[in-house]
């Protein structure tokens, strides 16, 4: 049976054009960008080229605003700890929405252990940050507020421009984790008033092991990874040349093809949603319209997510994701699903489909058939 991969939020293949472009940096142009000779210089140029392409994707002021990292987790850690520790004179408070990725929440919890106060900003049942509440919650001594551009588990896109106005009125910094959104929907850091923004290479068909952090000019950070002083001293370590060059090319392709690809995926997404919601006691999670073009997420009552995942994979060769506790390392259901108000037993029955370039609208009937039969089979086994 033909494989239908629907877990692009977890990992993506590298675009063949990206691979073709970047492979020279594994072979002949393998240099260390810090070396002063010609081989080093070629490598340095590749890094700067990638920086420029990433800057263009998010309309950054210029390429010097882009800091290269090893991935989204690293970018988030640097944004949060780096900003909070460097600007400790402003206060010892940080804030984040309840549905942030754990690579945002965990660095904040770490700060909490060293004496910072952490404010969690609630979201409504569709996953939207309630901007009115935000105004009351944030205090002037909150150095950094972190709100994601769009959520990876429920697909909801946050009203970042509105949020940044509120955050800036209080004189605070806004960090935006755009890992799930970058390369998928237009982002304009200047127009939307974003101070720091995280993105990841693999989430836009680039190689794993590279990411970027946009830092608005004038914002000061403290290094959390001391060493050889690469990346303005903020992120030491010899650059992952192949992955970084690939990230740049992936950003360029994503920007060029975004409008068309967004429309194509939205059509598949909407068909999937309307078909799957015909199943008895099935519900959409996340926002019905303000959602990522490639994202369709559901929950089904009476069944459990890991069973859904296994059944879809083993019987239909369709790979999906779930926020169920049984599929996690902690055996806790997804904090995102609990934050939008689902009960534990409801959160266990979740299924997330994330589309990519290889998916076609012709696959919709096969996918919906597989989901229907999976839900039916598992419900027959279930006492609920």
């Amino acid at each position: 049976m033909e494989k239908i991969y629907l877990d692009h939020a977890s990992a993506m293949s590298v675009d063949p054009r990206v691979l073709e472009f970047a492979k020279q940096y594994l072979k002949e142009d393998f240099g260390n960008p810090s070396s002063l000779h010609s081989v080093g210089l070629t490598a340095k140029r590749a890094i700067e080229d990638a920086r420029k392409k990433v800057a263009e994707l998010i309309n950054a002021e210029n390429e010097t605003c882009i800091l290269i990292t090893g991935g989204a987790t690293e970018s988030n850690n640097l944004a949060i700890k780096g900003t909070a520790l460097r600007n400790i004179g402003k206060g010892k408070k940080v804030a984040a929405s309840a549905i942030e990725h754990i690579s945002v929440l965990n660095p904040m919890k770490e700060l909490q252990k060293s004496g910072f106060e952490l404010t969690i900003i609630p979201v409504d049942s569709t996953g939207l940050v309630e901007s009115e509440k935000l105004n009351d919650i944030l205090t002037k001594d909150t150095t950094l507020t972190s709100i994601m551009y769009a959520n990876n588990e429920i697909g909801t896109i946050e009203p970042i421009k509105k949020i940044s106005e509120i955050v800036h009125k209080k004189g605070l910094y806004l960090h935006v984790d755009a890992t799930a959104a970058a390369g998928r929907i237009p982002i304009d850091v200047q127009n939307e008033g974003i101070d720091l923004l995280t993105l990841s290479s693999n989430d836009m068909y680039g190689p794993q092991g590279a990411g970027a952090l946009y830092i608005k000019p004038g914002i000061k950070l403290q290094s959390i990874l001391p060493g050889g002083g690469q990346e303005r001293g903020l992120r030491s370590g010899t650059e992952n040349l192949f992955a970084v060059a690939g990230m740049g090319e992936a950003a360029r392709i994503a920007k060029d093809e975004m409008e068309q690809e967004k429309k194509r995926l939205e059509e598949i997404r909407d068909k999937l949603i309307s078909e799957i919601l015909k199943i008895d006691k099935s519900y959409l999670t996340g926002h019905p319209t303000q959602r990522l073009p490639h994202h369709a997420s559901f929950r089904f009552s009476g069944i459990e997510g890991e069973s859904i995942l296994l059944n879809m994979d083993m019987i239909y060769n369709i790979q999906v994701s779930t926020g169920s506790a049984c599929s996690s390392k902690t055996l806790e259901p997804s904090h995102v699903l609990l934050a939008i108000g689902l009960k534990h037993e409801e959160a266990h029955g979740s299924m997330v489909l994330t589309l990519g370039r290889a998916n076609k609208v012709e696959q919709v009937p096969m996918i919906t058939k597989a989901v229907k039969e999976t839900v039916e089979r598992l419900r027959k086994l279930s006492p609920l």
Binding site: E304, S307, L310, A325, C326, S327, H344, E345, K380, S382
Partner: protein, 127 residues
């Protein structure tokens, strides 16, 4: 193929679970777990002369919860109730060629559901 660290036998029982369903007026009934935790199991037994002659289950839960329920029904069928009371979670896990460590609690539940059904049978017999 799906992994999640499961053995072939676990996946086989997940795909083709034995003894699914209910028994009307069972001689023993056991229910363990809680949907809040993501696992709920029901076990129905038919007993003649203290021998388990028929057994059925229904399970809400992950792959290993379903596989262990299926396995325990196969193991208990035809067994003397006192012998079946001695089946442990390790017995079930071993019969399934092992379970990932974080999944051991699921197999615990399957054996528990069986034990609850046997206790129910004994209560009814005495009462």
């Amino acid at each position: 193929m799906a992994q999640v660290g499961y053995s072939k036998k676990v996946l086989e029982h997940f795909l083709n679970p034995r003894n699914v369903g209910t028994i009307e007026n069972p001689d023993g009934y056991g229910k363990v777990g809680n949907p809040v935790c993501g696992d709920l199991m029901e076990m129905f037994i038919r007993v003649k002369d203290d021998i388990i002659t028929d057994i059925k289950f229904r399970t809400f839960g992950c792959g290993s919860a379903i596989a262990t329920s299926s396995m325990v029904t196969e193991m208990a069928k035809g067994m003397h109730v006192d012998q079946a009371m001695k089946l442990t979670r390790d017995d079930v896990a071993n019969e399934l060629e092992g379970l990932p460590p974080q999944k051991m609690h699921c197999s615990n539940l399957a054996a528990d559901a069986l034990h609850e059904a046997i206790k129910d049978y004994k209560r009814k017999k005495e009462g």
